[in-house]
Amino acid sequence: MAFQIILNFALAFVWMFLSSNYTATGFLVGFILGIILLVIMRRFFSSRLYVFRIWAIIKLTILFLKELILANIQVLQVVLRPKLDMQPAFFAYPTVLREDWEITLLSSLITLTPGTVVVHVSDDAKTLYVHAIDISDVDDAIASIRDSFEKAILEVSKS
């Protein structure tokens, strides 16, 4: 991915020298032409085009902002309810992610989203122990994490 970005920048600079137009506009035109070249030449790269990965990162950010706002509305409801009738629980969440940065990202995202805080990561980094503030169905909570965040992170790290 890094190689493709550097190549795209180099192509943009080559375009600036070819057209002797050393301005931001010249750079931008060269960059867009470079993207088109990369798309045409994509079968020579071993990994996928970096544009898709950047798009996946943007989608992850939007998902995260949405979940953050939902989380806060849920905390608001729990705190302001006249009777405290929530059911907290610690549950184990088996993860398929392997890289350290992926697990760190996943636990940060879980901590900032509705009703869950990561308390402990097991030594072999295969299980996250999560504290949920109001658990009616553990399987439901696990499935929702798996479908939203884990899938989005896998989409980013897919080569």
Binding site: L68, I69, A71, N72, V75, L76, V78, V79, L80, L84, M86, Q87, P88, A89, F90, F91, A92, S107, S108, T111, L112, G115, V117, V118, V119, H120, S122, D123, T127, Y129, H131, I133, I135, V138
Partner: protein
């Protein structure tokens, strides 16, 4: 235009203040450390973030001064907020703080016991 900018600023700052108040109420009302960590790590982060965005918009749209340091502050809050919540709950659990009696399920107790045995902590 000024009215629009002003209402944007007022909206963000009042939402932020609302979330900070909810955090404070949550810290008083909730029964144990782990549920309080929920209120502290989520609502406080979003509350402070909303106030910072409000301040950013005020200086940008009304005083005409673009201040990227506020945006960096929001980014740093995002990175450090959840880690703080995680570290505090984890160290409390290992130090033996008991969860609230209403806690319905505890997968973590056996894991922590094993860890303490392996590392020879009492």
């Amino acid at each position: 235009m000024t009215i629009l900018a002003n209402s944007l600023v007022i909206f963000f700052i009042s939402v932020g203040v609302l979330f900070i108040v909810v955090t404070a109420i949550g810290l008083i009302r909730l029964p144990d450390l782990y549920t309080r960590a929920h209120a502290a790590s989520k609502s406080a982060t979003l509350g402070v973030m909303c106030v910072l965005i409000g301040v950013f918009f005020h200086f940008w749209l009304i005083e005409d001064h673009f201040n990227p340091r506020i945006l960096l502050g929001i980014l740093f809050l995002f990175i450090t907020g959840p880690v703080g919540g995680h570290i505090m709950t984890r160290s409390s659990y290992i130090a033996g703080v008991k969860p609230w009696k209403g806690t319905v399920r505890d997968d973590l107790a056996s894991e922590i016991d094993n860890m303490k045995k392996e590392q020879g902590i009492k």
